[in-house]
């Protein structure tokens, strides 16, 4: 297993290059790039600019674990508005192109947003159709689309069995799940998601979660690894059980008021314990 973390956690004011150096010092093997998040990687970034970024990443001794995006919350493949749906297709296809430029084989998308206006069954059908349309592009690029489980926020595909059935409906080896072990909250157990979805896992996001807290005003339910309610031994064993030996990517909220870079070091140390099973 290899460790990665998002470029969206680089402390404010830190340049892309210095952020990479920080990750390398902290012991990471790679970086997750978020399209649409920081100024160095936007939808308007050219191929040439991406190739320069790739060089900087390699010069820092790192690799790109995957390409994510923060655009799906506004432009989603399940949107009723056709222009938003088309925008979603465009940015996902750009993610696939970026993945090839950065020499990685996975992207993360958030597919399907259920709201009071956009009902479940309609979202299901539209999301399914969209992923079936995107699958051939992914196959041609040899880049896997990892659909993230943002259960609570999306209100969509809320159980591992349903998610598995959905992916079976998509029926493409190039569309799987980018499994976030913290996003399950109190609706289930991360190790059971791993067990059920096993071969369909493209990448894994790591974070911890306070399952007893629920959503309470401004308080976040997410926290650093080992500080929440996830059963890390079960999660680690479940990875062994299903044979998952790929990238683990920390997706953290920036929590440290002081010494924000220390969170990056602390997260790397926690990930080492998860990987080694020394829990």
């Amino acid at each position: 297993m290899k460790k990665s973390i998002g470029d969206n956690i680089f402390p404010k004011g830190v340049s892309f290059e210095n952020g990479l150096q920080l990750l390398k010092r902290a012991g990471y093997d790679g970086v997750e790039l978020w399209l649409g998040e920081r100024e160095w990687f936007q939808i308007g970034s050219t191929d040439s600019q991406m190739r320069e970024m790739r060089q900087k990443i390699e010069d820092a001794g790192l690799r790109v674990s995957n390409i994510s995006n923060s655009l799906d919350w506004k432009e989603n493949v399940s949107a009723r508005d056709a222009s938003k749906r088309e925008a979603a297709f465009r940015h996902i296809q750009r993610q696939i192109e970026a993945a090839q430029i950065f020499n990685t084989d996975a992207i993360l998308i958030v597919a399907g947003l259920v709201t009071s206006d956009a009902p479940y069954n309609e979202v299901y059908k539209r999301t399914l159709d969209s992923l079936k349309k995107l699958a051939p592009d992914a196959a041609a690029a040899k880049v896997k689309i990892g659909v993230e489980n943002c259960c609570s926020e999306q209100k969509f595909l809320l159980s591992p069995r349903e998610f598995n059935a959905f992916l079976s409906d998509v029926d493409s080896p190039w569309v799987g799940i980018h499994l976030d072990v913290g996003n399950i909250h109190d609706t289930g157990f991360a190790e059971q998601w791993i067990e059920i979805l096993g071969p369909k896992i493209t990448r894994v996001h790591l974070k911890d979660v306070h399952t007893h807290r629920g959503r309470c005003g401004n308080q976040s339910v997410y926290t650093n690894i080992f500080l929440g309610d996830n059963n890390w031994r079960a999660i680690r064993d479940a990875f062994t059980k299903v044979g998952y030996d790929g990238w683990l990517i920390a997706e953290m909220e920036a929590k440290y008021t002081y010494a924000p870079d220390q969170q990056i070091y602390d997260t790397a140390a926690a990930m080492n314990r998860v990987i080694s099973g020394n829990l």
Partner: protein
């Protein structure tokens, strides 16, 4: 489609386990008897099973002694010891604390390295002339022992419910277990205590 010979008991747990084992496809000619979630096999049936093992049958004995009275456990443990030389220790109920510290899964070494879900309790097992094939933590919970041309595989942690729950790893373990025990003549399915 070929079927395994299955022996089960008329209670929910045994029937659930038998349902799980029935999801397996038996090889064209199978010489395996599956005892699914059993806790009350009497001495005469145990002796007949031993005879069949000596003659080339493999007996896969999945115990449900996790959910029985102390006297029932003592009786069954005595029969297994006297007929097969297998020693059972008292079932260990897996508490939430234990699951958190020791883990949720049973570690198999044979027929291949694999993990499968534990099922509430485990029965530690010991047998001087047997090979331990699975552990919960450091506790051996499954073994296999050859008798003549066949043998006994004793499961102190249930696999049937995992099969019924469509667990891939349980399916692979049992499929390989059956394949490793070799084919022979086909028998009919039964469902009764001995």
């Amino acid at each position: 489609m070929a079927e395994f010979e299955i022996i089960s008991e008329p209670n929910c747990l045994s029937q659930e386990s038998a349902d799980g084992f029935r999801t397996l496809i038996a090889p064209g000619s199978s010489n395996v008897i599956l005892l699914c979630g059993v806790s009350a096999i009497d001495a005469s049936l145990a002796c007949r099973l031993r005879e069949r093992a000596l003659a080339g049958t493999w007996v896969i004995w999945e115990s449900a002694l996790i959910a029985c009275e102390a006297r029932e456990f003592a009786t069954q443990a005595r029969i297994l010891r006297e007929v097969f030389g297998v020693n059972l220790m008292q079932p260990v109920a897996l508490s939430p604390d234990q699951l958190r510290t020791t883990g949720m899964f049973i570690h198999y070494r044979w027929p291949s390295a694999a993990l499968t879900r534990s099922f509430s309790s485990v029965i530690p097992v010991a047998c001087a002339r047997a090979e331990t094939i699975a552990w919960y933590g450091n506790t051996p919970v499954a073994m296999r022992r050859r008798f003549g041309s066949g043998g006994l595989v004793f499961l102190g942690s249930m696999l049937g419910p995992n099969l019924r729950a469509e667990e891939r790893e349980a399916h692979a373990i049992v499929t390989r277990m059956v394949a490793a025990t070799g084919p022979s003549s086909r028998d009919r399915t039964t469902s009764a205590t001995g």
